[in-house]
């Protein structure tokens, strides 16, 4: 299982990366390598060029700006997990990262790589969808911002064009004290989730929901916001929530089937997990002091 031959490039800057992407055909970006290298070793893909972007320093880093938390695409998953900014501002993302792979994969894997590869059960792009992230992409025509709602173009297909690369993920944090919940089911710790769910809520001082995000992932080819169910939560009292419309919405998804599970079971899990995520979001919601 040795990778097929390729030309290896190692740009040191974003400009060099851009130039390579503009000039090379059949090239793949090598970020953390945790998804790409298995595919290379299994000979599932055979790009002519690998562009190793692990030396482009300014693609790495987490900082807070007025527009939100900005995470460089090459920030290692381990660093996202241990970041104080992420813990306080984006606790859902930190929570989800506990379920991402293993120590070894988080050491090299990057949040940007996961968000570009778009395995249907990947937690990081799913949380980006839940959090309405913005993906800042750079290409020959300059920079553009892709909202999460436009990021997922299909199975394993992100909105990044052939000559473009993801620079930064920008996420506006939810209000302080918001409720966040995450649930997934995998056979073993760190496995690809069979299905997963996330929930975010904000309430007014009357404990009625003013804002909600509900997300199922690993069920359809792309993460799916349950927009109607979200709308249905607005105005509901958080201490007396009826989860059934939310559960039904998840169960109505067009679930994938695979060699291990049927679509029916996935839909069933979708319902179970969104309920658990929602419960957790209600439980983590901070009571006003």
């Amino acid at each position: 299982m040795k990778a097929p031959p390729f030309q290896y490039h190692r740009p040191q800057t974003r400009d060099e990366l851009g130039a390579l992407l503009s000039s090379l055909e059949n090239a793949k970006i090598l970020a953390g390598g945790q998804s790409l290298m298995p595919m290379m070793n299994l000979r599932v893909i055979a790009p002519d060029h690998l562009i190793d972007i692990n030396r482009i320093a300014d693609l790495v880093g987490i900082r807070e700006t007025a527009e939100g938390v900005e995470i460089g695409a090459m920030t290692r998953q381990a660093d996202v997990l241990s970041s104080g900014i992420i813990r306080t501002r984006l606790p859902l993302l930190r929570h989800a990262l506990e379920h991402v792979g293993h120590i070894q994969t988080r050491a090299r894997g990057t949040i940007g790589g996961s968000c570009c590869h778009l395995d249907p059960s990947a937690e990081q792009p799913a949380m980006c969808a839940a959090l309405d992230a913005e993906f800042i992409v750079s290409g020959p025509d300059g920079r553009r911002i892709v909202p999460a709602s436009e990021w997922f173009e299909g199975l394993l297909q992100s909105a990044v064009g052939e000559r473009e690369f993801l620079e930064t993920i920008r996420i506006k944090p939810w209000a302080k004290g918001h409720g966040y919940g995450f649930a997934e089911y995998a056979r073993r710790h760190g496995d690809f989730a069979i299905a997963g769910a996330a929930a975010l809520i904000e309430t007014g001082s009357d404990r009625r929901i003013t804002r909600a995000a509900l997300l199922s992932f690993g069920v359809e080819a792309s993460p799916r916001r349950l927009s109607e169910a979200e709308a249905g939560l607005i105005g509901q009292p958080v201490d007396k929530l009826d989860p059934e419309p939310v559960v039904s919405a998840a169960r109505a998804l067009d679930a994938m089937e695979d060699v291990h599970v049927t679509a029916d079971y996935r839909r069933h899990l979708a319902g179970v997990l969104i309920r658990r995520a929602l419960n957790e979001a209600c439980a983590t919601l901070e009571r006003p002091s």
Binding site: K2, P4, P5, Y185, R187, R188, V259, H260, Y265, V272
Partner: protein
Amino acid sequence: MSGRFFGAAVTRVEDARLLTGTGHYVDDIELPGMLHAAFVRASFAHGRVRGIKKDDALAMPGVVAIYTMDDFADIAQGPMPPMAPHPLLKTPITYHPLANSEVRHVGEAIAIVLANSRANAEDAAAAVMLDVEYLPAVSDVATAHGANSPAAHSQHASNIAATMKAGFGDCAKVFAQADHVLTERFDIHRGGCHAMECRGVVANIDLLTNALTISTSSQSPYMVRRHLAAYLNRDENDIRVMTPDVGGGFGPKANVYAEEFAAAMSAIKIRRPVKWIEDRQEHFVATTQQRGQIWSIEVAFNNDGHMRAIRGHCIHDNGAYAPYGLILPATAIASFPGPYALEALDLTVDVVLTNLVPTSPVRGACRPNVAFLLERLADRVARHLGMDRQDVRQRSFVKAEQMPYTTGLKARDGSPISYDSGDYGGALNLVLDKIAAEDFEARREEAKQRGKLRGLGIASCVEDTGLGPFEGASIRVTPAGKVIVATGASSQGQGHRTAFAQIAADALGVELEDVTVETADTAKFPLGISTIASRIAVTAGSSVQLAADKVRTKAITFASHQLEVGEHDLELEGGAVRVKGIPDMKIKLSEIARALAGSTGVPLPDNMEPDLAATAYFNSNALTFAYGANACEVEVDPETGDVRVVRYVVVHDCGKLINPLIVDGQIRGGVVHGIGNALFERMIYDEEGQPLTTTYGDYFLPMASEMPPIEIHHIETPSPRNPIGVKGAGEGGTIPAAACVISAVEDALGPNGPFIPTHPVSPQQIVQWLQTER
């Protein structure tokens, strides 16, 4: 003679090397001029190769040669010899080293590419073009068994390669008399081996002597030598087979493989060393698997829960070839009646060919299948009668007073199988006590408060160990006073070097560090069989003891002459033979060894034979039976169907323990393997014989995060059938484990839940059952 080491939990002598990365596995071998091999393998399950185009591939960088079977015409041709010929297989069904016409499973090797690197060899293998006439394939064993199935081998009218029958007593009579008869169908799915080290071989021809040297990650170096010699028409003396450190065997590495033959013939032809290392994708399609069986079983039993007779018909998935003959189905048959005192038994096993990689023994070798059937039946009977599961067993078990117990079945040599010792009822009581079964309902209730369904499972088993005929050992004391133990027994992590050193050190009164054990090199020990079937402690261990005793006797005889003291006044201690009570009156073993090595013109005392050394072959002509009772608790998440084993307790009697640390390790590893069988490991194929689970993303092995701590309690009933009183322990952890876990899952799902006659069970299946219940 001290008893300092036998029975002691000494740390292993193997560990220092293995912990520091200085082990030596087959892929660590580098030889000058060595070529790397990759195989062109079938991507289709059944077809005829009409032509091969190698030109493009041969022109690729680093490629030195590409061989098919025709290229070996001047070396050897024909199918490989069968490892275990059986009268029911009149024509053996074995591979050619490279398929030369009909290919019968995805992964079968068709050509070998030799290049200066594995990567270049793989590139070239991908560029070899095959002209294939596809033939219909059959992958489902029930279909293959039926009348209108596609033929797995085009020249066989039927896919049933053999029908094996066994039994005793009068089933018709007992079934007519019994109070009840139940019929059940059991479906046990295929799974793989997955030693962490894949297979591998380095083959080399000595250009001067033409001797062939093979280093192979194998459990059977002597079988590799024997069968290669027969195939190549060479004397066994011209072939040396060694096993370096082997990263796990578990059964499939006991076979002799096509790739070993192809690598050997390639080395002979190209006159350079050839290395082939299996990669994990190959392991999924080219290393043997096991378990696939469908059983229809009828059990006759009385109102009091006493199981009296069993009729069984098995459809056994043998895969596309029978390289190991009928060992696997034969072992399944021989595993009956387990711990049960049946009056009658009637078994028929149809050995069926399919277009899948062949099956052969994998840890337990179908004993786990049979334990699964028997234990599930006992639970089924209990459910039917509204009795406790353990009461059915206590009524039906062979009793301790009945030992030695002749089961009614015969061994392969026609001798009656007789259990030497065992208290199955006592073991079951003990394990239930250790898991505090009497308080289980409180734990079930507590789990319910947390939203989980908790279940308690039990399973018992009997394990035949110490399979004959022999495994030998030699011991020599060197003039420096070192004790060299050599044995044909090969190791894949069982700590043989430590266990044998313990035996030798005790017998000769030396320290553990003074003993070196050399294993599995046909040039260093003349004969060997195989490390399989939990047989090495009994056979090789006993041989070490016997050889050590001979050396001891010789040393004492020598010392008796030298010191002019009666032999009965001498003991071996501190590396010397010394007079009891007068420790300063002694001769060191090193001195005796030097003396017996001879000096010019100096006669040896009293016509003694030279060499402070001896060889012994313990002939194991009767199996010795380990047994155990397991209990476990699982928690089921009723919403996701997730099953977590939260407690696991083993009661196990494998006779005397040479090293409890090692035995416990074997049991724990075996239990986890069994949990994997019960809940995780399913090798899935489509209808065309294409494997669908070919990476560790799809085939789930048990990991630490999901495994329980495993508590072990030993009973040590010495075996009367060998000089050291041991029984084998390599498979005893696995044999009842799947049955135990499934028993617990069934208990968790409650009395209105399904009877579970299959494994592995998936979370999805559990949810479906729970939904049906409602």
